[in-house]
């Protein structure tokens, strides 16, 4: 990322101006301490073996990958380690959150959350708009309630308005859209109650359909422009007398719960009612009334805050209070219920400020501990951070940054599927809502890093690439080894590694070849694909 240093310079200047947008927000420091204390009270005792606080090198690589989805440069790394200020960790977190890559990184995360569950591949038409719009909103510091309301009430061209993404991904279908809104924003999988009362939870079949009754007037229809094809999410309030036929997905005035014994029958007309509070709307309410009321009720519910803080916590600390992150609710047990409620409550008081939340989590001891292997079930959670597999975008950013490969601008921004980033995602992408220990690595992934031509051109030293330049600039082998380690793994080589590599160099005989082999090995190491 060639602009990396430039924007940091800008941000540093800006952050000294100390703009306090939310004067009345809960204190980050105090909240982090209280969350740690609550976790300690609920889960730890004198015997608990807590991992120590992680070192600066590991911390810096961790926050960079977590917050902006990229690697710190060797210069950044050195400056951080030599910075003696006790506040430097808070400061780097603040700086990263002010960078434009923060919004982009998390917009891509949410894009994957939404589009991993698309009904049809054509829904990807909306992916770029979602990424762009959400990046902007996140960088501007929009509250999560406002962002969520935008998704729930969205209308318009899916290529122009990114908040149409969830409805588009579900093809405007009433039940599917309902299920996704509940899963993503409340973390409650009420769709299990679509056909029968929920097997484990309290939800009744009617309650699912009452929620669905907020969406019957929503539809998706094709838009044909002069040069391109797109779709539009729309809400309709005018209906003919014609009864909607089976499988017809045009908007209808009211939602009908199908008769399970007679799928061809019209079913029962259902009134919109929000299952968590029983707030309801009368028959005949307009689409706008339905969706905006629901957005208001949903985003002020406690599960809305809990679902979000649990998800963010899980991404950053490596395990959630509830797992999986999209399957919680009043019938599920949190590993540390007081801590998660506390954090959710403070998040609400912060006006659903995502930057506040990330700052707070990054400030906790739980986040800053050294990582240990993912704990086996039954063991005490949060005694350490957990190594996290990089998502496709951060991994690609890391490879491109380490090797200084420039990402070519897309020829046609409309064609999401054709670009390099998308091809990378085809191989490395996964649904971020799935529990991380069930996300498996694959042989095509290994093959891509080992043999992909673009990456390997950058590993093979030449006048025009980074390795060629470094081989010329740095005559000392020890120093060059350190440089490559900082670049790829953001750490110094160990003594063992250093001596092994010097011996390797002698054995190979050819300096250029030996360093190419080293760079190739670093890019292909498990450590590169993870953040510790």
């Amino acid at each position: 990322m060639k602009n990396r240093l430039t924007w940091l310079a800008v941000i540093m200047t800006v952050s000294f101006l100390g703009i306090a947008a939310h004067a009345a927000q809960p204190s980050v420091e105090a909240t982090a301490r209280r969350v740690d204390a609550a976790i300690a009270e609920e889960l730890f005792d004198d015997e608990t073996d807590l991992a120590p606080t992680t070192d600066d090198e590991t911390f810096l690589r961790r926050v960079w990958l977590d917050l902006v989805g990229d690697l710190p440069s060797p210069e950044e790394q050195t400056a951080f380690v030599f910075d003696l200020s006790p506040k430097k960790r808070q400061r780097v977190v603040r700086r990263l959150l002010e960078s434009p890559y923060y919004g982009q990184n998390w917009a891509r995360y949410w894009r994957d959350v939404v589009f991993s569950r698309t009904l049809e591949d054509r829904a990807y038409l909306a992916a770029n708009a979602m990424e762009a719009d959400l990046s902007r909103q996140l960088n501007a510091g929009d509250g999560w309630d406002r962002i969520a309301s935008g998704f729930i009430t969205a209308k318009g061209d899916v290529k122009e308005n990114g908040s149409t993404a969830i409805v588009m991904a579900q093809d405007g279908r009433t039940e599917e859209t309902t299920a996704e809104i509940s899963r993503i924003f409340l973390g409650i999988q009420i769709q299990c109650a679509q056909c029968h009362d929920h097997p484990y939870d309290r939800w009744k079949r009617e309650q699912f359909h009452e929620l669905a009754a907020f969406f019957p007037r929503v539809g998706v229809r094709p838009l044909r422009g002069m040069t391109q094809r797109s779709f539009e999410v729309f809400g309709s309030n005018r209906f003919g007398r014609k009864q909607r036929k089976n499988n017809d997905r045009r908007p209808q005035a009211e939602h009908f719960m199908p008769d399970l014994n007679d799928p061809t029958a019209k079913g029962t007309k259902i009134q919109p009612k929000f299952f968590l509070t029983s707030a309801s709307l009368p028959w005949g309410s307009t689409d706008a009334e339905r969706r905006s009321k629901l957005a208001g009720w949903l985003t002020s519910n406690e599960w809305f805050s809990i679902a979000l803080v649990n998800r963010m916590w899980s991404e950053l600390v490596g395990e959630g209070f509830y797992e999986p992150v999209d399957d919680l609710g009043p019938d599920r047990e949190a590993s540390a219920p007081k801590a998660v409620k506390l954090l959710a409550n403070q998040f609400r008081k912060s006006d659903y400020d995502l930057k506040w939340l990330l700052k707070t989590i990054c400030q906790t001891e739980a986040y800053q501990r050294e990582s240990r292997p993912r704990h086996k079930s039954g063991k005490t959670p949060f005694t350490a951070n957990v190594p996290q597999r990089l998502r496709s975008d951060p991994l690609m950013n890391a490879a491109f940054s380490a090797l200084e490969i420039e990402e070519m601008p897309e020829k046609s921004p409309r064609r999401y599927r054709k670009n390099v980033r998308r091809q990378f995602a085809e191989i490395f992408g996964y649904d971020p809502s799935t529990p991380r220990d069930s996300v498996t690595a694959s042989i095509p992934q290994m093959l891509a890093l080992m043999n992909e031509p673009q990456i390997n051109r950058a590993i093979s030293a030449s006048r025009s690439n980074v390795l060629g330049r470094l081989l010329e600039e740095i005559g000392d082998n020890d120093q060059l080894i350190v440089e490559l380690y900082l670049r790829c793994l953001s750490r110094q080589p160990t003594e063992e590694e250093l001596s092994l590599l010097l011996a390797y160099g002698e054995e190979v005989g050819d300096r250029r070849e030996a360093f190419e082999d080293l760079l190739w090995s670093l890019i292909n190491s498990a450590e590169f694909r993870y953040r510790k």
Binding site: R117, L119, E120, D121, R122, A169, Q170, E176, A179, R183, Q189, Q191, N246, N247, E323, P324, D327, E370, R372, P373, R374, K376, S377, A384, P387, E426, D431, T434, P435, D437, S438, V439, T440, A441, S442, I443, P444, Q445, M446, L447, A448, M450, N451, E452, N456, T494, E496, E497, L500, Y504, V508, E513, S521, L522, S525, A526, E527, R529, Y530, K532
Partner: protein, 433 residues
């Protein structure tokens, strides 16, 4: 450990996602039958599982866009709906197919045509999904596609090649491993005339092996800390991936190894190469190969366009069947020809036919299916199924049955819901009589 593309890579036991009995077993053998974790009935069931995989394989010939039944296996020359397409006799007296398929006509004795396929999905995206998964798309469940389920159930875990290969680039809505995980995603070949992506090492072999050694020796630091499992898994993957691309089995992806005479028999074009590759892959132990032909959405000029398309697929299909037969592989290899739906009885104003899921056709051969027969029929104009309707679920159940897979086998989705391979439907028994 054997290099295996599909399986195995998740060496860490998945705590939240018990995927199916076979995975369970694989893990069991990996950790050496943990005491008490597996009771005796499960062991019995396990051996039955192993017995079922007797080297069965499946080749799916997918006609993207919805091939016209009238212009392929179900001509109606005596009705106005039949248009200008004539019927020709086949190697089986009494069975006629469209004149567009002269090569297939000669191997009719090995093929079974289902003329009574029926479904309700007339939208490409959803129908493509349906005819690949046996389910309609549902946001909350990522169903595995047919090939992934087959690979999961009977794929040969010890084979060096992947169990599921799709030839002909990515295909929208055709799915992948779904909740079974990426291990069961298809290996995608954009063309049968090129090796798979990223399988050509960028250095010579000895240097490549030197690099692998270096990589392995450098990972101790992470491995001794929090990355123990991660590094171990990564090492196994690197080993498997390298062994695969350096292995002689990669020759399976090289059509140049086929005699020129046989290449001529398969005919020309991507689809012909794909069919030949499919046979090579099955020979090398691949369980499920999908070969995609595109362009069947003939809203205009259905007659001339289908003639062009059948010219690309007729000879390869027939040669694939005879080639498999001659090598003694047809009995264990099911060949399925289908698309997402059929085309309308009425020829529209642009001499095209529109989408028609209500009555369409499919063709099956090999794998124990009795050839030389037609299942089901439609009325004179072909607009309604009049005899022996076959639903998508029936067809899927039949495919699994042919491959020795119990279609009632349940996988557990990521949120703990049991999902059968096929929900409902009946095996089309006539196909085996």
């Amino acid at each position: 450990m054997n290099p295996r593309l599909q399986h195995h890579t998740n060496i860490a036991i998945r705590r939240n996602q018990v995927v199916g009995r076979r995975d369970f077993l694989r893990q069991m053998s990996a950790v050496g039958l943990a005491a008490g974790a597996c009771n005796w009935t499960e062991v019995i069931r396990a051996s039955a599982d192993e017995l079922r995989s007797r080297g069965m394989a499946c080749v799916l010939l997918w006609m993207q866009g919805g091939p016209s039944q009238y212009e392929t296996f179900s001509p109606k020359p005596n009705h106005s709906n039949g248009g200008e397409t004539k019927a020709i006799s086949t190697s089986v007296p009494g069975i006629q197919i469209a004149e567009n398929l002269p090569y297939c006509a000669k191997v009719m004795d090995k093929m079974a045509i289902v003329r009574s396929m029926t479904s309700k999905e007339g939208n490409h995206q959803r129908a493509t999904y349906l005819l690949h998964h046996g389910y309609l798309p549902m946001g909350s469940v990522k169903f595995p596609t047919l090939g992934s389920n087959v690979a999961h159930q009977i794929g040969d875990a010890a084979n060096q090649l992947p169990s599921y290969v799709r030839i002909g680039n990515r295909l929208a809505n055709s799915g992948g491993g779904g909740f079974l995980g990426v291990d069961y995603d298809p290996l995608i070949l954009s063309s049968a005339n090129r090796p798979p992506e990223n399988t050509t090492p960028t250095t010579g072999r000895s240097r490549y092996e030197r690099r692998l050694k270096l990589l392995s020796s450098l990972q101790n630091d992470f491995a001794s800390g929090s990355g123990a499992q991660v590094v171990a898994d990564g090492r196994k993957l690197v080993t498997s991936a390298s062994e695969m691309i350096l292995s002689p089995s990669m020759a399976a992806f090289d059509l140049e190894k086929e005699p020129a005479g046989l290449r001529t028999q398969y005919g020309e074009g991507e689809f012909a190469s794909g069919c030949m590759m499919a046979r090579r892959l099955v020979e090398h132990g691949v369980t499920f190969v999908e070969v995609v032909s595109r362009g069947w959405d003939t809203h205009q000029d259905v007659f001339s366009r289908t003639r062009d398309l059948t010219a690309q697929v007729d000879q390869p299909i027939a040669t694939l069947i005879t080639d498999l037969k001659q090598r003694g592989m047809l009995e264990k290899t099911l060949v399925v020809w289908m698309g997402e739906f059929g085309r309308s009885p009425r020829v529209n104003a642009r001499s095209g036919r529109d989408h028609y899921p209500k009555a369409f056709n499919a063709m099956l051969a090999g794998g124990g299916v009795s050839g030389g027969q037609v299942v089901g029929s439609t009325n004179a104009g072909g607009s309604e199924v009049t005899d022996r309707p076959v639903s998508v679920n029936d067809l899927f159940r039949t495919i699994y049955h042919t491959l020795g897979i119990d279609a009632d086998e349940e996988n557990i989705s990521s949120i703990g819901r049991p999902i059968k391979l096929v929900d409902g439907g009946k095996v089309v028994e006539e196909l085996f009589s």
